[in-house]
Structure formats: C-alpha cells, structure tokens
Amino acid sequence: MEKAENHKAGILDLPMLKIAKYVVYDILRNKFVLAYLLFLLLVSMSFFNLESDPAKGMMSLLNIILIVLPLVSIVFATIHLYNSYEFTELMLAQPLRRSDIFLGQYLGMAASLCIAFGIGVGVPVLLYEGTMRGAILVGCGLLLTLAFVSLAFLSTVLARDKARGIGIALLLWFFCTILYDGLVLMGMFAFSDYPLEKVIIGLAFLNPVDLARIAMLLQLDAAALMGYTGALFQHFFGSFWGGGLSVLAMLVWIVAPLWVATRIFRKKDI
C-alpha cells in the first residue's frame, strides 16, 4: 500500500528537476546570488528615486542591465559549474542520464539568477514603471540571463581547465557587450557609401545584447535620436513580425549554445 502511495509521481519527481532543486539549494548557500540580488535592488531603487522621470531611470537601468547582467550571469555560472565538478561526478555514477544531469544543472542555475533578477529589478520596475515597457525591460533581462547562462555552460564544456573556461566566458562577454558594437560601427564607416540599414538589422540578430538593447530603446522612444537607422529599426522591430522574430532570435541564443554544450557533455570523459 505504501509503495503505491510513494509512486504517485509528481512533476518534481523528474530527475532533471530534482537535480535543479539541489543546484538551487547549493547556490542559495552561496551568498553571491544574494549579493547580486541586493545590488540590483539597490541600483534600481536609486535610479528610480534619483530621476524624476521614470523613463530616464529606465534608461540608466538599461545600461546596467546590458553590461552587468551578462557579466554576472556568464562568469558566475561558469565558475559555479567548475566548482560543482564533484557534484557532477557523483551524479554520473548514479542511474541518471547525462542530459538530465546537465540540463538539471542549467535549470537550477538559470532559475536562481532569474529569481535574483526578478526580485532585484522586477519589483522596483513594477513599483515605479508598471507599464508595458517595464514588462519588456524585465523580460529582456530574463532572456539575457538565460542566454548568458547557456553560453557559460558552453564555455565549461569547451575547456577542461577552469582558468581557460573562465577566459572563454569573459571573451564571449567582452565580444557581445563591447567589441561587437565597435566592429559594427567600424563596418558602417568603412562602407558608409552603401545602403547598410538592412545589413545592420541582420547583424543585430547575431548578438543577444544588441537585440535586448534595440528592443528597449524602441520602447523608450530613443530611436528617434538615431536618425534614419532608428526610423528603420522602429519600422522593423516595432512591427509584429519584427518583434516576434527578435524574440525568436533570443530563444535561439538560449537554446543553441545549450544544445551544443549538452551534445559535447554527453560524450565527455569525466
């Protein structure tokens, strides 16, 4: 009789979610995510309080989100995954599928960082700017978190060595947040005689940070300051299928690195 009762399998009995649960426990014992949450909370509250216009507060907050969030997500996730090597090793000797172990770790990590962001930024935004654009800001942040944790998992399977893995993670962050825009700008100057607007729209899809930035700038009407390109962005990303396409591209940025990483992990020697 007791057996039958124990077998009432809920969704939390899925091996992947069980592993995610223990990863979340482990991260909660680590004070870093709490510090990240408090930092975001402090920054959001002060921006909204310092600026009389919530839109300006949003703008300042956006800059923080686009730089700090990817950095924290990718570096913390990479370091934590290397540090939980013992946990991974222990799980591998159990009757658990490798993909369940790996994706469980992803879910646990992504959930922890999303919760920190959801409270640290989501709550202040809800209080001061409970509008559609507030929701889009929080949505962009959550998607960016997922994408950069995904990239972090890719960096850890690419390098056995911790220092090298963190190096790859930092390089990816540097490329997406700083280098990429510089390269695009250089390209624009070099080929300024040609009509590049469509190319630039295409290039935005190759960088998750740019996607989030454009989505937000359009919401804040800052696109008007960007001249013809801004108008074109407004026309493209503001349209239904343009917006849908950028959300889709974000999802690809989340799924693709994770998929590649899982494939590598399944064949990796521990």
Binding site: Y22, L92, R97, R98, S99, D269
Partner: protein, 237 residues
C-alpha cells in the same frame, strides 16, 4: 553478467586501455591488480559510463550500455577519492542520494552507516571531513542501495585499521549473496582475503584473468603478494 567487449581508450596520445576483453559473473570477487597507470581506474570508469571508450562496447546483463543510464541502478561505486559537494552536510548528502534514486522497492542497507557511526556526525559539512571519513561516507553510500554489482576502487586506502576491518567484513558478508565485486587495491593481503579471481593489467592490456587458486598453483606460491611479485619479475625481464 558484465561483459567488456574489446574496449580501447586513449587520452591524447596515451593509450590507457588496449583491446580489453573480459567477462565478469555473479559470485565472483575480482581483484584488479596492476602497476600505477595500468588503466584500472579507467576500466572502472568505463564500466560506469564516466569514460566513453573509443572502440568496443560494454554490456550489462546482455544489454549494451549507451546513453541509457538505468543499468547504473545495479552498481554501487566507491571511488578512489570520494569527492562531494563542499557545502553539503553528511546527512543532506544521504537524503539527496535517496531522493535521487527514488527506488521505493529496494530495501536500504544502512549497516555501514551505523557501523561507522555516521548519524553522530550528520551535521558536519563535507568540506570539513578528513580523507578517512570521506572514505567511510563513500563506502556507506556504495552499499546503501544493496546493488548486485559493487565496484570498490582502493577501498581501504585511507581507512584506519578498525574501519578497514569493518569494510572487509561487510564485503565478505555481501559476497555470500551472489554479488559481483570488482576491487582494486595495492594491498595484496586485503585482496587475498576478499578475491576469488585476479585480473592483472599492465599498460592497459590484460596480462591474465585467472582464479586465485589457479594462480597460486601455477606460481607455486601460497600468498597472492608473492605470486604477483613473481609474475611481475618474469614480465619485467
């Protein structure tokens, strides 16, 4: 029950396993012996699916092991160096393992947990444990789900004499239950007490796989240590 079929494995340029082909049956207690770096641990990790061989396959009860991890339910593994999440307490570790296994139909074997008095130190975090205490935790975990196959990698290294004795007695008792034991060790006297068969590996190659008695009669030595020493010398020359 466990068939290793022509497996080979290289790490970079180093060939760690070269065409290893052996079969293990229930009721055997196999001592895996070989010099350092002879591929003992790699063989064990291949059986557990932690290392993926380039060539060959491994079958458990006739089923080739692949991405399906279900067969590991039947294997208890005590690693050479037990490494556990630092932030976890001993009690939490055991709870987690029970939760993850979710085997409601196996009876838990908590004999070693009690023999090693682990409940008294359930609150200690894994980070603070000595090497020996970690070994005790590893041993208790390996036996917890009473699996039919037990793989012990250097089980007594690091254990104090009393704890090592407790473990050896436990293995002796479990051997009576028609289980398969794979044990690596450099302590010949331990293996002599436990083993029924000896697998000897050198540089990733199987030199021989014989029953302990055959080995003793062939070499004319009474003790396993001397028999192995004799073989090592003939191989070296």
């Amino acid at each position: 029950m466990l068939d290793i079929r022509h497996i080979s494995k290289t790490f970079g340029k180093l060939e760690v396993l070269k065409n290893v082909h052996i079969g293990f049956e229930r009721g055997q207690a196999v001592a895996i012996i070989g010099p350092n770096g002879s591929g003992k641990t790699t063989l064990i990790k291949s059986i557990l699916g932690m290392v993926v061989p380039e060539r060959g396959s491994i079958a458990f009860q006739g089923q080739t092991i692949g991405q399906d991890a279900g067969y590991r339910r039947h294997i208890g593994y005590m690693p050479q160096i037990g490494r556990y999440p630092d932030n976890m307490q001993i009690g939490q570790l055991f709870d987690m393992m029970r939760d993850l296994r979710n085997d409601t139909d196996t009876t838990l074997d908590e004999e070693l947990i009690h023999a090693y008095r682990l409940p008294d130190i359930y609150q200690k975090s894994m980070r603070t444990l000595s090497g020996g205490t970690r070994q005790k935790v590893s041993a208790a975990l390996a036996f917890l789900f009473s699996p039919p196959v037990m793989i012990l990698d250097e089980p007594t290294a690091g254990l104090d004499p009393l704890s090592a004795e407790i473990l050896k007695e436990k293995v002796q008792r479990e051997k009576q239950r028609n289980k398969l034991f794979l044990v690596t060790s450099h302590i010949m006297s331990d293996l002599e007490e436990l083993a029924t068969d000896v697998l000897y590996l050198v540089e990733g190659r199987v030199v021989f796989f014989k029953s302990l008695n055959t080995l003793k009669t062939e070499t004319g030595e009474e003790r396993l240590g001397r028999a192995i020493a004799q073989i090592m010398q003939t191989h070296a020359s």
